[in-house]
């Protein structure tokens, strides 16, 4: 990948991350931290490539550990985030007395 293009991607992604989170209410801090924790579980994809291209036994072992850890990050992050967010429900009453 062209170095400069990559830097563009980095800059835009950094702004995106900042803007997406900027106005998050405190009540969602924990689920959101968990959710962003899930998103970097995409590292699984890289670990798969590392294992897929491993030739020596040592590379295979490290790659295997990498995929185990990456899959744990992705799946675990998803399960706990979903469990937390599943519970957020509105009362269904009209919010007539909103502060």
């Amino acid at each position: 990948m062209e170095g400069v293009i990559a830097l563009y991607i980095v800059m835009l992604a950094a702004f995106t991350g900042y803007e997406v989170i900027a106005r998050v209410p405190v009540i969602l801090h924990t689920p959101l931290m968990s959710g962003s924790n899930f998103v970097h579980g995409i590292v699984l994809v890289g670990a798969m490539v590392a294992l897929g291209r491993a030739d020596t036994l040592l590379e295979q072992v490290i790659g295997f550990v990498g995929v185990v850890l990456g899959a744990g990050n992705a799946v675990g992050g998803y399960v706990v985030t979903e469990r937390m967010l599943e519970m957020f429900k509105a009362s269904g009453r009209k919010k007539k007395e909103s502060a």
């Binding site: 170095g3 990559a6 991607i9 980095v10 992604a13 950094a14 991350g17 900042y18 997406v20 989170i21 998050v24 209410p25 405190v26 009540i27 969602l28 801090h29 924990t30 931290m33 959710g35 962003s36 924790n37 998103v39 970097h40 579980g41 995409i42 590292v43 699984l44 994809v45 890289g46 798969m48 490539v49 590392a50 294992l51 897929g52 291209r53 590379e59 490290i62 790659g63 295997f64 550990v65 990498g66 850890l69 990456g70 744990g72 990050n73 992705a74 675990g76 992050g77 998803y78 985030t81 979903e82 469990r83 937390m84 519970m87 957020f88 509105a90 269904g92 007395e97 909103s98 502060a99």
Partner: protein
């Protein structure tokens, strides 16, 4: 090795799928920042992850598919199982654990790349240029620190590590380890042909650094640290994304890195702590504050009388703390509140940013009990309402309602925003015993004229209050 598809077709398909993955991740995170759409958000991001993972099997030149599937089954299976059974109160340490795994995975990718460089003959072509090597090493450094640091954070919150290890010159020692790690990393990059010993030493030192950095940090500050390591892992993933030329990893990693950094700052701010303060000094390192100028006495009240008081109130504000969650009282408390609401009492939950073990944790615990989120207000929204409240019901909360934070400059919690429970007409405090709170600071709220103490286990007291409210007709 041939891939599953012709090389150019596979590459194109993967590139486009990663574009979709990045889009779904960003949309998912965006949705997750509002309680109304949050649930949809994680599902959207999950679909992105699934697409990315499936498409990655198509990479040209890959083998070891059996190993790969086995590894996914093991890692994913264990994580699925542990994520399903973990109690909501233990959520912070599970997030730390999964985050550490991500850091470890990023480090593993770097390890494979760096090890491959050791096997290149000295006169052969360099496997990676210095820039890519530096990125791989930087990702390894951050990833490994996040890995071992997160595991220590997990151990501390889980109660496996009880002590905070502090000694004189600790920061100097940490600095020394960090400098040595970076120097070794620099050597690997400059040499272009690292030896196996160099790589092992580099990873070993980084592992050690994560441990020694995290051990002295107290449990109360741990959420901020976990959030910081979360951002670290994001960066490590992005760096390894550069090495593998994987756009999905770069975008997702950087987005998490920047969002995580902001989230860390928000959390630190909510806890009235600066990030530097969290990382480089333990909580309450100075001598414990004396209980200065406590006047009045603790005035107990029977649950039956307390129940009547609430049954005839117009407005009740509930201030839950971690003590309520420990006693598993949130279901009973919500039952009590529903009774009051049916009687026409206006009930709100007032949540301090640090109620629970990390910002937002208490909201999750209340949501688990079925409390709708529109009855839950945070500090800024609700604080003015205490003045018009008939009863402030404080359950297992302590420091977050201590008026000392407003008045006593010598107190360690001075300046921390608190819930103004003391301003309401009556204050009911449900508390297990007469001891001081988490920080060991005497709570002046408990001694006020309008405060009554209800002693007992929060769950049992809540049951008795329900009984009393029902009896009040």
């Amino acid at each position: 090795m041939p891939g599953l598809l012709p090389e150019n077709v596979a590459t194109l398909a993967i590139d486009f799928s990663y574009l979709l993955v990045a889009f779904l991740f960003i949309m998912g995170l965006k949705a997750m920042s509002s309680p109304v759409t949050a649930r949809r958000g994680i599902v959207v991001a999950g679909i992105g992850m699934l697409i990315g993972t499936l498409m990655s099997f198509l990479y040209p030149g890959m083998g070891n598919f059996a190993l790969m599937l086995a590894a996914i089954a093991i890692g994913g299976g264990l994580a699925w199982w542990s994520g399903r059974i973990v109690a909501m109160t233990d959520m912070p340490q599970m997030i730390a654990l999964y985050n550490g795994m991500g850091g470890g995975a990023a480090a593993a990718i770097a390890a494979v790349e760096l090890l491959r460089m050791t096997s290149v003959p000295a006169d052969g072509a360099v496997h990676h240029g210095p820039v890519v090597t530096a990125l791989a090493a930087a990702g390894a450094f951050i990833g490994v620190v996040s890995f071992s640091g997160s595991l220590i954070a997990f151990g501390k919150l889980q109660g496996l590590i009880k002590r905070s290890f502090r000694f004189a010159g600790q920061q100097a020692a940490n600095l020394l380890i960090a400098a040595a790690t970076l120097a070794l990393g620099g050597w690997i990059v400059v040499s272009g042909h690292p030896t196996l010993e160099m790589v092992i030493g580099f990873f070993g030192l980084a592992l050690l650094l994560g441990v020694t950095m995290t051990l002295p940090i107290g449990g109360a500050d741990m959420p901020v640290v976990i959030s910081l390591y979360n951002a670290f892992t994001g960066l490590a993933v992005a760096f390894e994304g550069f090495v593998l030329e994987n756009a999905a990893m770069i975008i997702a990693g950087i987005v998490v890195g920047s969002a995580g950094t902001l989230l860390t700052q928000l959390m630190a701010k909510a806890m009235n702590r600066s990030l530097g303060n969290v990382l480089f000094s333990g909580f309450g390192e100075g001598p414990a504050a004396e209980a200065s100028g406590v006047t009045g006495a603790l005035k107990p009240i029977e649950p039956s009388d307390a129940g009547v008081m609430m049954a005839f109130a117009q407005k009740v504000l509930v201030v839950p703390g971690y003590g309520m969650a420990v006693a598993q009282a949130q279901h009973k408390v919500w039952e009590l509140c529903q009774l009051l609401i049916d009687k026409g009492v206006m009930v709100r939950f007032a949540i301090h940013p640090v109620a629970g073990r990390m910002p937002g944790h208490m909201n999750v615990l209340l949501a688990e009990a079925g409390v709708p989120y529109d009855l839950i207000s945070d500090l800024d929204e609700i604080n003015a309402e205490f003045e018009t409240a008939d009863v402030a019901l404080v359950i297992g909360a302590n420091d977050v309602v201590n008026p000392v934070a407003r008045t006593d400059k010598s107190s360690p919690i001075y300046g921390m925003p608190i819930l103004n429970a003391d301003k309401s007409r009556n204050v009911l405090v449900i508390k297990r015993g007469q001891g001081a709170g988490f920080s060991g600071i005497e709570n002046h709220l408990f001694y006020l004229d309008n405060t009554r103490m209800v002693y007992g286990d929060a769950q049992k007291v809540a049951a008795e209050l329900i009984h009393a409210v029902k009896a009040a007709g």
